[in-house]
């Protein structure tokens, strides 16, 4: 379906292509509506939902303000429990750490459970370079891997696919008899994945939460594949964004109530694996490696206005609630993280030069902010990123000490647009000039041909009738009736 890699720079074209695909838009609408309904039902049964959100936001704000201390505490306690903690400044370092671990142990058969951090660093591609591409074991991710695509949703990677498309993919790639029966397709996947689990010598996972107090990592999932990925192979490598650390084990009481309800509308995910060091019973992996991934995060932490971006617990609720995401899906964003959270995170991770369009790809309706379990003020952050984009500022504002040099270039300047807004401001701040300008517009309106030369008017009229300026504005009518 997709021919060339999508990027944020081509967002407008990507969106247009997505809208032309009726199968895609239908699948998205059904799926996002279902998730939004389930979420609403699940949170409706929690009387203290708003208090939970407030508490979660406060825990995250507290942690991010002291992230260095909590990361040191986490590292110390994870190490004490027998895990090996690695620090990766960027994607290349993180990939190299995993690759070297696999190489040194002669691991040949790798399995992986769903993880956005490993998507972010393109770990599969890095490992594939020396013939060690992991098999994805989350059903959705496995489908995506078979199709040679990328996930289009944070927690539902194959949300853009119908069961018919998945059936056809299985016929093509696995040689099964034609079917679009979800039960049958899932059973087929289970059989195939079992063989991979049994043979695997290294398992890779992400991390939902890392508890500083105990050095514990948590992986939440529904299929049991992450449980197997993190317990069957001799070596478990967990890639964890540094913002995933939380102070105390007791904080999980808050987050574990928020995350599943916000994401899938479940009260609890089917599995919550809590891993403190390698398996003490000697049944699980002999080694646990935790790769702490910075990759731009410490620069975001240093930017006080934008810092709350890192409070995200990757539940996907903002995607399901977003009318833009519901219309076009995740691939159109051209970035690993799609939807509202992607529109604020991607420009900060990769810079406004290449992702400067994303903060503008929103009607600022605020549905994302309403559903966010950690109360990230996404519309305000979109507005701040828009300001920085047009001001030619870099994001994040200040590189932190010791961080990798920033590659973030400012957004491309748009001199004509900037001039337009300067003129608008000069006109609009003066009632006399405003009156004169609107009088000219009234004249221009009499020449439909002239109006159509104006790009925004053409864009408006492509699908909508344009309103007409009133023959006499209110300000003239008011004076006219002599109050």
């Amino acid at each position: 379906m997709r021919v060339s890699p999508l990027t944020p720079e081509t967002f407008a074209d990507n969106a247009r292509a997505a809208l032309a695909d009726a199968t895609l838009t239908g699948a998205l609408r059904r799926a996002t509506d279902t998730f939004a309904e389930r979420r609403a039902a699940a949170i409706g049964a929690v009387p203290d939902w708003q208090e939970l959100r407030t508490r979660a936001a406060a825990i995250k704000a507290h942690t991010l303000a002291r992230l260095d201390a909590y990361l040191e505490e986490f590292t110390a306690n994870a190490t004490k429990a027998g895990a090996t903690v690695h620090w990766a400044r960027d994607a290349a370092e993180a990939c190299a750490i995993v690759r070297d671990l696999a190489q040194a142990r002669g691991s040949k058969r790798l399995v992986k459970s769903k993880s956005m951090a490993t998507e972010e660093i393109h770990l599969n591609a890095a490992l594939a370079q020396d013939g060690r591409e992991p098999v994805e074991t989350d059903l959705g991710e496995w489908i995506i891997q078979l199709a040679g695509e990328t996930p289009s949703h944070i927690i539902v990677p194959a949300i853009h696919k119908t069961k018919e498309q998945i059936g056809a993919l299985f016929v093509d790639k696995l040689g099964i008899p034609p079917s679009s029966d979800p039960q049958l397709l899932a059973a087929e996947a289970r059989t195939r994945l079992r063989a991979h689990f049994a043979a695997a010598d290294l398992g890779i996972s992400g991390v939902n939460f890392g508890v500083a107090e105990t050095g514990t990592i948590l992986v939440l999932e529904n299929e049991g594949n992450a449980r197997m990925t993190t317990t069957l192979p001799a070596v478990h490598v967990a890639v964890m964004g540094i913002e995933k650390v939380i102070p105390r084990f007791g904080d999980l009481e808050t987050f574990l109530r928020l995350l599943p309800r916000s994401g899938t509308g479940q009260h609890l995910t089917t599995y919550q694996s809590m891993l403190t060091g390698p398996d003490p019973m000697g049944q699980g992996p002999r080694e646990l490696h935790i790769v702490l991934l910075d990759n731009g995060r410490s620069r975001i932490v240093a930017d006080e206005l934008m810092r709350q971006t890192l409070a995200c617990i990757r539940c996907g609720a903002c995607l399901n609630a977003c009318p833009v995401y519901q219309s076009i899906g995740g691939h159109a964003y051209g970035s690993v993280y799609p939807g509202p959270i992607g529109a604020i995170l991607t420009p900060q991770l990769q810079g406004l030069h290449s992702a400067g369009t994303l903060p503008f790809a929103s009607s600022l309706c605020g549905a994302c902010k309403d559903v966010c379990p950690v109360k990230i003020d996404i519309p305000s952050l979109l507005l701040e990123l828009r300001r920085r984009a047009v001001a030619g500022e870099q994001v994040p504002a200040a590189p932190s000490r010791g961080a990798a040099p920033t590659t973030s270039k400012p957004a491309r300047r748009k001199p004509l647009e900037a001039l337009g807004w300067r003129v608008w401001s000069w006109v609009t701040r003066s009632p006399a000039r405003f009156r004169l300008a609107t009088a000219f517009a009234r004249l221009g309106q009499k020449l439909p041909f002239a109006m159509r030369l104006f790009g925004p008017m053409r864009a408006w009229q492509s699908s909508r009738e344009a309103p007409k300026l009133a023959a006499r504005p209110f300000r003239d009518r008011w004076r006219g009736d002599a109050r």
């Binding site: 344009a466 300026l469 009518r477």
Partner: protein, 239 residues
């Protein structure tokens, strides 16, 4: 007690729909307010602010503050413009003097339906309209100002009016200011989804924001629909 109200017509209301602004005046007067209009006003500055041009927005916002800071209450037939005024303190976060003046204005800026119901305690304005009316929750009114029940209560008090909810609930109409012309296809897809929630028997689609109505009316007209888009103030002024 007679409340003195400084009317903010909004730039769109002033220039495109003076009849909506006149209806706003009529409704406020019927509710017992003394309405004034200062012709020095223009716009709330939201277009520049939402486009990222904060310096350009600030110049217009300062003019707004100067016009309205002596008013007792500022009322606008728009949730979005009112929400913008509520954002002024954030816009002036690095200018303490202007921030304080902006806060003072923000505290007394109200969207029409919220002002009528919350401030005046008025629900029944003696209006009459025989129509089946579908209500659109404008995003900024709903999510930034918490306006939800107020317009519904006002509409239920209108004689002859049947209020219905849209099947597409609280979803955005796809306007979003310059978003509507920067991404016209996407904006239209959101719009079509919103309008798909209208049932066949709806006569009027109403909202507190003229900008949402401009978007929805533009599409309804293009499609030759019989559904009329009417601002809440126009309905409340109907006799």
């Amino acid at each position: 007690m007679t409340r003195s109200v400084a009317l903010f017509a909004t730039c769109l209301g002033d220039q495109l729909w003076p009849e909506v602004v006149e209806a706003t005046v009529a409704v406020l007067e019927r509710a017992g307010c003394r309405v004034t209009f200062d012709p020095a006003q223009t716009c709330c500055a939201q277009p520049a602010f939402n486009s990222g041009y904060h310096d350009e927005a600030k110049a217009v916002a300062r003019a707004f503050v100067e016009v309205f800071e002596r008013a007792d209450a500022v009322v606008a037939p728009s949730g979005s413009c009112t929400a913008m005024v509520h954002r002024y303190p954030e816009l002036f976060r690095d200018e303490p003097d202007w921030r304080a003046r902006a806060e003072a204005v923000a505290h007394k800026a109200f969207e029409l339906s919220a002002f009528l119901v919350r401030e005046l305690g008025v629900v029944d304005l003696g209006a009459r309209l025989s129509a089946r009316v579908a209500w659109h929750d404008a995003c900024h009114a709903l999510r930034e100002l918490g306006v939800h029940d107020e317009p519904r209560r006002l509409l239920r008090a209108v004689a002859g009016l049947e209020l219905v909810e849209l099947r597409t609930g609280e979803s955005c109409c796809g306007f979003g200011g310059t978003f509507a012309v920067k991404f016209p296809e996407l904006s239209t897809a959101m719009l079509d989804h919103k309008l798909s929630g209208l049932d066949d028997r709806v006569d009027v689609l109403s909202a507190v924001d003229s900008s949402c109505l401009m978007q929805m009316r533009g599409r309804l007209q293009r499609q030759g629909s019989r559904v009329r888009a009417m601002h809440l103030a126009e309905i409340l002024a109907s006799r």
